[in-house]
Symmetry: C2
């Protein structure tokens, strides 16, 4: 699961963008990589107490612009971040409607094919030029399975 973090690719992308692959950025990439699922600010700061949020946000912006990180908007107000599909490969997400947690998820190839087809057929629709797709499977994660079903309140932490 914890295969070596994609430091080289990230470094290349950053340097192409005229940015350095500093210690803080490496730590961020390692954290995103080992987390294995899209993380939010709470998770990041919980993992490194004292780390200033502004630096984290700034580094996330830099990494996003370099194409190394993707920012996702979950159901809640908090943004979530993960390594980009260019590093991680194409995938989708399971989203817990109770706590907002996300997990990566690969759909079966037939479904992926159907989504590709839908993207292409939508390419003509309404003047919209569709270029990609994003699927969320909503439900309850293991933690929330038994708690307040139907609710939308966030869970304690992580």
């Amino acid at each position: 699961m914890t295969t070596t973090a994609p430091h080289d690719q990230v470094k290349d992308r950053l340097e192409q963008a005229g940015q350095r692959y500093t210690a803080g950025r490496q730590a961020l990439v390692v954290f995103l990589h080992t987390a294995g699922h899209p993380v939010d600010m709470n998770e990041i700061t919980a993992a490194s107490p004292g780390l200033p949020m502004s630096s984290v946000y700034r580094n996330l912006v830099v990494l996003e612009q370099a194409g190394a990180v993707t920012r996702l908007q979950g159901p809640g107000a908090l943004a979530r971040y993960e390594l980009s599909e260019e590093l991680l490969g194409h995938h989708h997400h399971l989203v817990c409607s109770s706590c907002g947690r996300m997990e990566d998820y690969q759909v079966p190839p037939e479904v992926e094919g159907a989504l590709l087809a839908a993207t292409r057929s939508a390419a003509s629709n309404n003047g919209f030029k569709a270029t990609g797709h994003r699927l969320e499977l909503r439900g309850l994660c293991a933690r929330c399975g038994q708690a307040t079903p139907g609710a939308t309140e966030p869970h304690p932490l992580t």
Copy 2:
């Protein structure tokens, strides 16, 4: 396109929740209904200058809890709202990666079938109990088709 707004269903739902279907709420429902796509606060307040945002937010919460309105998190920071699927029927969205605008979109039945199948097969995955799905087709809307492709900045307005 502008079939009669679903006042009766909304009213029923609100009354079941012990809430009234006031003028402000009716106006909101009419606006959501005639807009025909998920709208954000800017669009709402632009349509009714002077209307206090707090009331709009509160009414949206009430309507959401009554199951008449759904809150969507677009790519940007602003939340978008539309009439719930219970009123509008099941559908998905085209999302402009440049300006954040969303349009409703029905996928072909085969794709919908594949999504259902994926939802069911994910039901077993990771302890996640998948109960529904949400598909976004990303691309450029008609307005943004020629402008700054690849960018993620919002467009002027509406």
